[in-house]
């Protein structure tokens, strides 16, 4: 029983809300198109990250490009 309980433990999703002094549209644009201007640089590739790419279309890819040209999917 206890093993069942341990494996079905639910974690709250990581959720953040910040308030910024920008119109919603501009805030969204900054978040998406301006991603590289504010992202603190967390990356998962073995190479240093050159940039993160958010393809602005439905079904678009979301990945990082390393300084050596390698690509790593983010989601």
């Amino acid at each position: 029983m206890s093993t069942q309980a341990a494996s079905t433990e639910v974690f709250e999703p990581v959720r953040y809300a910040v308030t910024v002094l920008l119109p919603a549209e501009r805030a969204f644009t900054l978040f998406t198109e301006g991603f590289n201007s504010w992202w603190p640089g967390h990356h998962i590739g073995t190479a240093e990250m050159a940039e993160a790419v958010l393809e602005p279309r439905t079904g678009g890819r979301y990945y990082e490009r390393g300084v050596d040209g390698s690509e790593c999917e983010w989601g």
């Binding site: 093993t3 069942q4 341990a6 494996s7 433990e9 974690f11 990581v14 959720r15 953040y16 809300a17 910040v18 308030t19 910024v20 002094l21 920008l22 119109p23 919603a24 501009r26 805030a27 969204f28 900054l30 978040f31 301006g34 201007s37 504010w38 992202w39 603190p40 967390h42 998962i44 590739g45 073995t46 190479a47 390393g66 050596d68 390698s70 690509e71 790593c72 999917e73």
Partner: protein, 293 residues
């Protein structure tokens, strides 16, 4: 730099039995004990000033639970124990050098005290992890060797995070959460982990569900176990694997911290952008934009 507390503990009982009359040898052994206490102080100073592996380790242990580790307290404890050891052994040295009657008794008392102190440090655990691990130092190289790819394990996308690359490439990130994420960088390992999230399973069951051989599943399970994401227990001749709650919690804490930093950075950049164009910011004073993730 590696410093072993257990070594300290093992060597300290070096002084001879009370029956021994070999005073010069006894004096040498006691001097060695004093020197080892001094080495502990020096090692702690070097770690505090340089690598901070002890502080990083504590941060990794505490962060997932929303607690902050106090490096000053940690290093202070080590200094106190080392200084106490040095003072006590210097006392013994004086006794041995004057060949006093009390020297053998003092030696036994101090040996016991030292052993108790060492055991106290080694036995201090918080949230199931040792606060003072026996071997300090950067776990990277050892971990990299241990997790190096072996035959049978499914390949990961080139250039992306793998179990073997994380501790080599991200040595300064909190090791627990990021090691867990790195272990899940491999698609097969992720599939195994997700399968175990439904219920605990044996190796054979996992291999039956996945297009991977049994040895490969075992290999992946070992990596997941090393990353603290699964635990196993014996059930007759089988080993049952299950998700380790603390491992998932560590990843959760890591992601939470990462997004906290990211959102603070986003807010700062938005403030900068708004400041650069005060007119539009003024106009949009009532707009509130929330980014939820």
């Amino acid at each position: 730099m590696r410093q072993s507390l257990s070594e300290h503990q093992r060597i300290d009982p070096g002084p001879p039995e009370p029956a021994t009359r070999n005073w010069p040898a006894a004096a040498r052994a006691v001097k060695l004990a004093v020197a080892l206490s001094a080495v502990l102080v020096v090692a702690a100073v070097i770690d505090q000033v340089g690598g901070r592996s002890l502080a990083d380790h504590a941060t990794a242990v505490y962060t997932p639970y929303g607690k902050r580790a106090d490096p000053n307290l940690l290093y202070g404890l080590v200094y106190t124990v080392a200084a106490a050891g040095a003072v006590l052994w210097l006392l013994v040295l004086r006794g041995v050098q004057s060949r006093g009657r009390s020297a053998p008794i003092l030696t036994v008392v101090v040996t016991t005290l030292t052993a108790v102190l060492a055991l106290f440090l080694l036995g201090t655990t918080e949230y199931g992890a040792q606060v003072f691990p026996p071997v300090w130092g950067h776990p990277g190289p050892a971990a990299c060797r241990r997790r190096s790819p072996r035959g049978g394990a499914a390949p990961s996308p080139p250039g992306c995070l793998t179990g073997s690359s994380v501790s080599c490439n991200l040595p300064f990130v909190e090791t627990y959460g990021s090691a867990g994420i790195a272990a899940l960088g491999d698609p097969t390992r992720r599939a195994i982990f997700e399968s175990l999230a439904h219920r605990p399973k044996a190796v054979g069951e996992l291999a039956a569900d996945l297009p991977v051989s049994r040895p490969a599943v075992s290999q992946h399970l070992r990596v997941l176990k090393e990353a603290g994401l699964v635990t196993d227990r014996a059930d007759g001749t089988r080993r049952i694997y299950q998700i380790r709650h603390q491992g998932v919690q560590a990843i959760h804490g890591y992601l939470d911290q990462m997004w906290g930093q990211a959102m603070a950075a986003f807010q700062a950049e938005a403030r900068r952008v708004a400041g650069r164009a005060p007119a539009s910011a003024q106009k949009s004073g009532n707009h509130r934009q929330q980014e939820e993730l």
